[in-house]
């Protein structure tokens, strides 16, 4: 079982704290990394996440000082080591241009409008983690308790099993 990371990028400390708190239910199986800017996030990906495991889901704020969220997600999408990560954009006001860029070039998987409800964010992240795990992992059983069990169970039932009893 490889270590799978959830990366949160958000410049406002209270909002970042809220995201991390909302995602706590995933903590036993997934490791959450909280970062305050695209730059810091990039460093964490390179020095913490990739050496230890895989980047599973990115929850990223759109408008931040310095590099904005969409540009950071596009960079992740272009890097083969992080292209498979599921990408969620947090945004208060989604302009058309940024939306188009995010969908077309960042492989964006979900928009979350600020403010969000905790259950809503958990459900979205759960769905994206399920998709990531179903696509990238071979042993899905440990995730049944935390992610979308039906979807994973179907995958397990369809997968070829070792037959050499």
């Amino acid at each position: 079982m490889s270590q799978i990371f959830i990366l949160c990028v958000e410049d406002e400390p209270e909002v970042l704290e809220a995201v991390v708190r909302d995602l706590a239910p995933f903590e036993p199986l997934f490791t959450i990394e909280a970062t305050a800017s695209a730059d810091e996030a990039r460093r964490v990906v390179a020095s913490v996440i990739l050496p230890a495991g895989k980047l599973g889901v990115v929850v990223c704020d759109h408008i931040m000082p310095g590099e904005d969220g969409v540009s950071f997600l596009v960079a992740l999408q272009r890097d083969p080591r992080t292209a498979a990560a599921r990408k969620i954009l947090l945004t208060a006001h989604a302009g058309l241009e940024a939306t188009v860029e995010a969908v077309n070039h960042a492989g964006l998987n979900h928009y979350v409008a600020k403010p969000w409800k905790a259950e809503e964010l958990v459900a979205i992240v759960r769905h994206q983690l399920t998709e990531f795990v179903a696509a990238e992992e071979t042993n899905l059983i440990p995730y049944l308790g935390v992610l979308e069990a039906d979807r994973l169970a179907d995958r397990i039932r369809q997968a070829p099993l070792p037959g050499d009893e």
Partner: protein, 540 residues
């Protein structure tokens, strides 16, 4: 490539070639080749430099190339023969001139017969002329040819047609197993497995110890008809979401995750199609002309299955007592009522009924197994997808073992091997017990199918001399070997259901060793008991 793989390949190739250079009195060249194939397959199956089913395919290929009548080796090694020439008539009996080297111990010659093994005929020497000799022998005629090299290996080995080796891929027991697989696939497709699980677990209530018992029983019941691995995977998908709701430190989590593979491993013993080792044992028995009906197997196996399940339950609740008062399973799966699902129930029920009443109607379970293979696709209950998804690797793995058995018998290697040991000095039961213990020991480390594949020929060879050994029954030995292999479940590598249980992340290896080891030892002890007191009642 890992060092172990390299070692496996080297050991396998040495095993293949070494017998050709050894002095093995009484074993002909074909037997030496077979011994080589057997040793190579053994090394490959144990060390796994290549996947085990590919070793099976290699076995069949080598047999066809090196042993079959149509293979290049036998075709190239034609028996040398010479014509018998009529020379003179002394006292009214014709004499024949043949090469001196055609004489066998100065007593007779081998007469060539097209399409058949040479016939040994007695001959009286009339006159020796150096290179040739004049003989008188009944059976020689104008167009007769004698074998000019009576020590040639082909005089004692009648090559097996290559069809026989290929036929192992469709051996009746393979068909039996395939029928079982298709039934299982159809059950999974229409969620019969989940519905049965809900049905069985509902009356168990919410007490943790009863739930553990329920899971053991359901896993065992399903794996009696499905593969142990598929059963374990399915059950895990059902229980893992529930485990997530239990307190992290509750030992019940461990008990539940252990109950499923343990139940599945034990349940596989119950029927001939429960797990491949059973089918391999049956195939070996059938080759020896001792057919074991489906219902007889169930009659033999069911008591030990039930007793082990009960003891396994006690072991699990004793080792891992729950700290929770109750858990709600909340399984809500219902039986599907669509026409296709109903059709599947009918085919399943009819097949199971015919399997269990074999002694009443006399139709072999191997033939009955073709009913679901035909009926399920005809009624569109399963389609091409399920047929493509059949576990071909398992079927081929089994076929390799079956064809190896054929070669051992046809080349005389089996008979030769028996003569190397003073079997009659041992008690019949001691041999059965020894084989069962060996099977159990190997199965903890090897694939159970491979274990039985390697041990079946040994049991069969001993069985060939069984008349001399009191208390030895080949059927008893084969059942014991197959049952014992299923109890090899103390390590994550012992069998795929264990590997799946380890993959949940709930278990540590020591849990598996403690519970699986204890239950396995109980199982092998019961096997030895059954082989002594119960199975002989039904197996002569």
């Amino acid at each position: 490539m890992k060092a172990k793989h390299t070692a496996g390949i080297v050991a396998g190739l040495v095993g293949l070639i070494a017998p050709l250079f050894l002095e093995l009195p009484g074993l002909n060249f074909a037997g030496q080749v077979t011994l080589g194939i057997f040793l190579m397959a053994g090394c490959f199956w144990v060390m796994e430099p290549v996947p085990i089913y590919t070793t099976s395919l290699l076995v069949i290929f080598l047999e066809v190339l090196l042993l079959s009548a149509e293979g290049p080796l036998v075709t190239a090694a034609r028996l040398p023969s010479a014509p018998a020439r009529k020379v003179a008539v002394a006292d009214g009996t014709p004499a024949w001139e043949v090469p001196t080297k055609a004489l066998k111990n100065d007593r007779g010659v081998l007469l060539e017969r097209p399409g058949q093994a040479p016939q040994s005929i007695e001959a009286k020497i009339v006159q020796r002329n150096g290179e040739t000799v004049w003989i008188q022998a009944a059976g020689l005629g104008e167009s007769s040819r004698v074998i000019s090299d009576p020590t040639h290996w082909l005089t004692t080995y009648k090559p097996t047609p290559y069809r026989t080796f290929f036929a192992s891929l469709a051996d009746p027991v393979i068909i039996l197993f395939m029928g079982g697989c298709l039934l299982a696939d159809a059950s999974v497709k229409y969620r019969l497995d989940r519905a049965l699980t809900s049905l069985f677990l509902a009356p168990m209530g919410s007490a943790p110890s009863m739930i553990t018992l329920g899971l053991l029983l359901v896993s065992a019941t399903l794996s009696a008809f499905m593969s142990n691995t598929a059963t374990t995977a399915m059950m895990m998908t059902l229980v893992m979401p529930i485990l997530a709701k239990l307190p992290e430190r509750d030992p019940l989590r461990i008990a539940v995750v252990l109950a499923i593979p343990v139940g599945a491993n034990i349940g596989g013993i119950a029927t001939p199609i429960g797990t491949p080792p059973n089918a391999i044992a049956l195939a070996a028995l059938t080759k020896q002309g001792a057919h074991l009906p489906f219902a007889t197997w169930v009659l033999l196996a069911l008591p030990i299955v039930l007793i082990t399940l009960l003891l396994a339950w006690l072991v699990l609740i004793w080792l891992y007592p729950s700290t929770s008062r109750e858990i709600q399973l909340g399984f809500q799966d219902r039986f599907e009522r669509t026409p296709k699902a109903m059709g599947m129930y009918v085919v399943f029920g009819l097949t199971a009924l015919l399997w269990l009443t074999e002694q009443q109607h006399g139709i072999s379970s191997n033939i009955v197994a073709f009913l679901p293979i035909v009926a399920l696709p005809i009624f569109g209950i399963i389609g091409k997808k399920e047929i493509h998804n059949l576990p071909w690797d398992v079927l081929w793995l089994m076929a390799g073992g079956i064809s190896l058995g054929t070669a051992l018998r046809d080349t005389g290697l089996a008979e030769w091997a028996v003569r190397q040991v003073e079997w009659s000095s041992m008690g019949g039961y001691a041999i059965v017990a020894g084989l069962a213990l060996f099977s159990f020991a190997l199965a903890n480390f090897l694939s159970h199918t491979v274990t039985v594949t390697l041990l079946a020929p040994i049991a069969v060879t001993v069985g060939a001399t069984s008349t001399e050994i009191s208390g030895f029954s080949l059927a008893n030995a084969m059942v014991a070997v197959a049952v014992a292999s299923s109890y090899g479940m103390s390590l994550p590598i012992s069998t795929p259901p264990n590997a799946i249980a380890m993959g949940t992340g709930v278990l540590e290896t020591r849990h598996l060793i403690r519970a699986g080891g204890t239950i396995g030892l109980i199982g092998i002890a019961l096997t030895l008991f059954m082989a002594r007191f119960y199975w002989p009642l039904f197996l002569k």
